[in-house]
Subunit: 399 residues, 2 copies
């Protein structure tokens, strides 16, 4: 494809992503769903205006987008804060990972959803463990409830979920992509993930302050922001080349390390316009890979709805991990949106695991992500308003 | 090439460009030369770490870079200001375009430099018409002479040169790329350029304020900066598809139109991090395309030095266009640096005119650009200091 053809495709992608995001924002829905649907409309299964094949421009720009996205998530997380969020958030997070995974694997195998194989079951189950920090945080903030115990617990749990989810993602992706899947391979993989995380975080803690001081001292305009981006790319590529993990794991760790104490405000604000360029391309590319005709098959819609119900139940149960005195149903509903994290799973499945994951499996996950992302805001709004009317004291609704 | 391989190449490019730029900045030289040389070192003729072939990632990112670069140049130009700069700047600009072009074409044909054909002569001559606004402005500003009549004249003339240069570039590129080059084709081309410029500027003046008001009203974070970038891409692609011109012409016009009165401060500051990412990739890609072994051939070095002398003389003569009372030698020397504008010519030749422009021609232009860009700052510094010592009143040194 000529350079001008590629630029034209990029133009179409940028405009479609921004129009989708803007329309969703106007109806108070997450922009990410607008970008995803825009991708489904202009992608291979829709109008066919863009193609995403291994190694072509959009694929690479989308990969840079998801690397920046996970880097920003990592930057937001203050490990020191995590400790203070306490037992409640941790318990909610672990239940919120374990239950959807177990229920998901069981549902796929019992109901013979998608491919119905063990690999499909593990992949769909893993995708169901995700929780979107961003979407949950925005809903609570829209409701003016950001300071509530429920909100703090859900956001803390969602952050822990991000970390657990990335580890699961790394293990699942590397495990399913390999030919054999023996138990020793599995332990070797888990060991590799843990060694990579521990090694990069420990070395990073020592080296990163010096690197950031160096970047601060560079005289060239723009050296700082590009330097900061280079750190994410470096750790991302290292994750792939050294540990066989997805680059996003490395980018996330880079963010985590820098998030430890350095003035991240400057990094975030300088990185933002670059992120506005690349990140929507990622979500659009996920949508563009969805075969809409597959998504609209009755069997896929049926399976998607079933998986959605299981995905919602799995996270509602996580609400039980919240301390007494909180509205456990609010915590549970707050954990439901899969958002961008669920889409990262779908993307990874589509691009790297095409041997074991079918286009039906991807469509089912995308349907589940859309439904779990769009409904909780409505439910949460009604729950919080009702509790405001009925009783000023938070009550315990599930247990 | 796999996505991770492409990311690795991007990482190498970003690091090399920033290291080159930083080193040049430390010795008070233009960063763009550092990025160019970094490209020569890691490119095909050097270490071979990066490849730039038609349509691959770096090529597209570099094209986005040069589009943003010309867009920013266009944004800087206030057409209203241009009128006030007056006769002197206009005269300097026209002499500064006509003389190097005439001398360049003559020199190439008489001395049988490079290919020695008429096409080579026109291309090298056209590349010699460039003047770098950015580098000249920085030198005067470093000397604390930004407010002097000489500086204002040179910068005004350099801006007019940008516009003339783009028209010449459009005509030369379209003319040389075509098979035939009859006189009627030439007039048709010039007509096309003029119609495109007049049409886009007239329509843009009417439509652009409404578009910018719309972008201002978008609620999504990042919609504004991406919208502004989309305008540049749209006009760039339109220039190519509708008028057969290089995309940079459209991007430049987009900048010119927006530069008319709208608050460009916000546009520039939001665009800056994106520009820091893409623009250095362009300069590095220019360097990466230079075959260093060709550049080091004695014949090429000889031809490059000759062309450099002609290029310097052509611009010194332009100083004669300055009004009496100014230091005409300072104006002339200020017009010498070709900088990024010369490199845009070289890039265009390498990528679009490979039939008529040889790697020797490119190497000669790159050598000329490097030498004309690196020497004037030293000369100007000495000239300005000497005039400060000898006489506090500006004298007329050439005529």
């Amino acid at each position: 494809m000529s350079v001008v053809d590629q630029l034209t495709q990029l133009l179409v992608v940028l405009v479609a992503a921004k129009v989708g995001a803007e329309l969703m924002t106007r109806v108070r829905q997450p922009a990410v769903i607008g970008e995803l649907i825009a991708g489904m409309i202009i992608g291979v299964g829709g109008l066919g205006w863009v193609t995403t094949q291994g190694g072509d421009l959009l694929e690479v720009l989308a990969e840079i987008g998801v690397i920046i996205l996970l880097y920003e998530v990592g930057l937001e997380i203050q490990l020191a804060d995590m400790a203070r969020l306490g037992r409640s958030a941790t318990l909610v997070a672990f239940i919120g990972v374990a239950t959807p995974f177990a229920l998901g694997v069981a549902a796929v195998q019992i109901l013979q959803i998608g491919g119905g194989t063990t690999e499909t079951a593990i992949f769909i189950g893993a995708a169901m463990t995700a929780t979107s920090v961003g979407i949950t945080a925005r809903v609570f903030s829209d409701l003016g409830r950001m300071g509530s115990d429920e909100a703090k617990t859900v956001i803390g749990a969602a952050v822990i979920d991000d970390i657990l989810g990335l580890v699961i993602l790394a293990v699942v992706a590397a495990g399913l992509a390999g030919d054999s899947a023996s138990l020793s391979d599995f332990f070797w993989l888990v060991a590799r993930v843990i060694v990579f995380l521990v090694a990069t975080v420990s070395i990073g803690r020592v080296v990163m302050p010096a690197i950031l001081r160096l970047l601060d001292r560079l005289r060239m305009a723009g050296s700082f922001v590009i330097g900061v981006l280079v750190l994410a790319l470096t750790l991302g590529i290292a994750a792939e080349r050294v540990a066989g993990l997805d680059p996003i794991v490395g980018a996330f760790v880079a963010g985590l390390i820098i998030g430890r104490g350095h003035d991240i405000g400057r990094i975030q604000s300088e990185l933002r316009p670059i992120s506005h360029f690349f990140v929507p391309i990622f979500f659009l590319a996920v949508g563009a890979r969805v075969d809409v005709s597959v998504l609209l098959r009755p069997t896929v819609i049926g399976a998607g709805l079933l998986i959605t119900v299981v995905a919602v139940l799995g996270k509602l149960v996580a609400g039980l991990g919240a301390e007494r005195g909180m509205q456990r149903i609010v915590v549970g509903v707050g954990m439901v949106p899969r958002g961008e994290v669920g889409l990262i799973f779908a993307a990874l499945g589509a691009s790297q695991l095409s041997d074991v994951v079918t286009s039906e499996d991807i469509a089912i996950i995308v349907l589940m992500v859309i439904l779990t992302t769009l409904t909780p805001p409505f439910v949460l709004t009604r729950l919080v308003r009702r509790s405001d009317d009925v009783s000023p004291v938070a009550d315990d609704t599930i247990s």
